[in-house]
């Protein structure tokens, strides 16, 4: 029942605000080349199946997986597209894992590819297409557009994050300075990561606080960029992984959980509206993934975390909800250096989503970086040895979370 799965490589394209030098399949191809370059014994011909995903409609290209087939090397091979909003990359990675663990005949090595070319097309229209989907749901409840505009969250993703931020700030009794500190942490880390987008090695808290509000309490300098970029991860069986790389990274637990139905701005049937920073979905996903991986004391057993935080308040919130820090203590951990590169629990050393956000790729870049940290091949490698790491994704309008727990040991509790 279910084969043990290992990650043997992960690769990235260069990320920037406008990759106008490549079209979408060419961007995808870059990440695949970077991923396979790290496994010299393997070529595209050795890949048995492909999973891919990006945000629906962001680039205005329908069925991009078919356009990219040749550029992914997927001609005449099993190919599947998965798209789940902000968690797309996380879902694609989990689908890659499912492909291998399922044990289908002839499917051992699977390439998972997630990407976004936000400069192409119109992201607002892409987001609107998501919002319109939700408007349709509200219409079926008999709510017309005019009434809707009064109750709808302001301004897309930041509209959701702003509620989470004010709520979290009042719970943890922190100021904007604490949010800015997280941003500085991320952007300085990004400066040491070749594929990151916003590299700011000398950024200060004052500079972040000196930018105007976009939506209280989030300032312009705290927001993630819109990036073009792609990410690829290679999954295979434990037997094959040993021949492909020195330190295979075993996937010991995965989860993808939404804890309640939540239509943007209206139909929160649970805590997402009354307590936006409760994030029960994140807690539930960590419970599930940790129990599969046999983790009882996350803070002690996890050495490295990549969490999906386009906005700094989310980074603090996730670290607590995923069981790494006690409630409301995360801001202190950024002050005392626990989360720094050389700290006890390094967090988002890639610069995180706060520094690079090619949306469809972002939730895959988290487990990808977390896996590379175990292999010792990450671009901003932590000095200590990483045995166990997590890669998290967030998306949907409020509360869908993906989580992958990885380790250099096969600790999966089920066979």
């Amino acid at each position: 029942m279910g084969r043990q799965v290992a990650i043997v490589s992960a690769g990235f394209s260069e990320h920037s605000s406008k990759r106008s030098d490549v079209n979408m399949p060419e961007l995808v191809n870059e990440a695949i080349i970077n991923c396979l370059k790290k496994v010299p014994s393997l070529g595209l011909k050795d890949i048995d199946a492909f999973v891919t995903g990006n945000m629906p409609a962001f680039e205005g290209a329908n069925m991009p997986e078919l356009w990219s087939t040749d550029w992914m090397g997927a001609r005449n091979k099993p190919l599947m597209r998965v798209t789940t909003g902000g968690t797309t990359g996380g879902s694609v990675a989990i689908a890659g894992y499912y492909h291998v663990t399922a044990g289908l005949p002839g499917i051992d090595t699977v390439l998972a590819i997630a990407y976004e070319q936000q400069s192409q097309g119109d992201t607002s229209v892409g987001l609107a297409s998501t919002a319109y989907g939700e408007i349709s749901i509200l219409n079926t409840l008999g709510i017309d557009y005019d009434s809707l505009s009064r109750i709808l969250s302001a301004g897309a993703a930041i509209g959701v994050a702003a509620y989470q931020a004010t709520n979290y700030m009042s719970k943890a009794r922190i100021t904007e300075e604490d949010l800015a500190r997280v941003v500085v942490h991320n952007r300085r880390n990004a400066a040491k990561n070749w594929w990151a987008h916003l590299k700011m090695p000398d950024l200060t808290i004052e500079e972040v606080l000196d930018t105007p509000y976009v939506q209280y309490p989030l300032r312009y300098g705290m927001l993630c960029p819109a990036s073009d970029g792609a990410c690829a991860m290679l999954f295979t069986t434990e037997e094959k992984a040993k021949d492909m790389c020195d330190i295979p990274v075993y996937v010991n637990g995965v989860a993808s959980v939404a804890n309640e139905s939540a239509v943007l701005g209206y139909d929160g049937s649970g805590s997402a509206q009354t307590d936006p920073s409760a994030q029960i979905g994140a807690m539930r996903s960590s419970e599930l993934a940790y129990s599969q991986a046999g983790i009882s004391f996350p803070r002690k057993e996890i050495d490295y975390a990549e969490v999906y935080a386009p906005f700094p308040n989310q980074e603090l919130m996730w670290l607590e909800k995923l069981g790494l820090f006690e409630e409301t203590t995360a801001p202190e951990m950024y002050k005392n250096g626990t989360t720094a590169l050389d700290g006890d629990l390094p967090v988002n050393c890639s610069g995180g989503v706060n520094s690079t956000n090619a949306i469809g790729a972002s939730a895959m870049e988290r487990p990808a970086v977390a896996a590379l940290q175990i292999m010792g091949k990450a671009d901003n490698q932590v000095p200590k040895t990483v045995h166990t790491s997590i890669g998290h994704g967030w998306g949907g309008s409020l509360n869908l979370c993906t989580l992958m727990v990885m380790s250099d040991e096969q600790k999966r509790k089920w066979r």
Binding site: K45, D70, S119
Partner: protein
């Protein structure tokens, strides 16, 4: 249950899309501006792509941007066609007087086909395998519109 219309949404959405063609198609459009058709070749299987591309899907080979470019003639073979009584650019308008002919043309020396209109050819004359050539627009700008269509050789 009776049907009751509560909501009737009317709206206009403006969407500005940019598309990056990439460096390979850039070269193709540069060629069109000089009334030339260029393709590129897979060094492994020898297939010639027109329009050019960065990857040969058959061989999983990356085709380097600075190598294996091929100048192709403006002549080609009609591989497939269809005929429509409607205006190609606007199907909502009434039928046109002369039927529109659309064809897939394989440029000589390439392994791919491009789609364009056939000009000055009647439905009686059209035949798979017939030779056609590019009809260039008078003023080329490095855009798809540089090719008006294909005409009889």
């Amino acid at each position: 249950m009776t049907e009751k219309v509560i909501v009737s949404n009317k709206g206009l959405v403006r969407a500005d899309f940019n598309f990056w063609v990439g460096k390979y198609m850039d070269k193709f459009y540069d060629g069109l501006e000089q009334k030339k058709i260029v393709g590129n070749k897979c060094s492994k299987c020898g297939d010639v792509f027109c329009p050019p591309r960065s990857v040969c899907g058959k061989c999983n080979e990356n085709l380097p941007l600075d190598q294996n470019w091929v100048d192709l003639p403006e002549s080609g073979t009609l591989q497939n066609y269809t005929i429509t009584p409607y205006k190609v650019t606007d199907r909502r308008t009434r039928k046109v007087k002369d039927p529109q002919l659309i064809a897939m043309v394989q440029i000589d020396g390439s392994n791919t086909a491009i789609v364009n209109r056939l000009l000055n050819i009647t439905p009686d004359e059209i035949k798979i395998g017939m030779k056609v050539k590019v009809d260039w627009s008078e003023k080329t700008t490095g855009a798809p519109s540089d090719i008006n269509g294909f005409v009889k050789v």
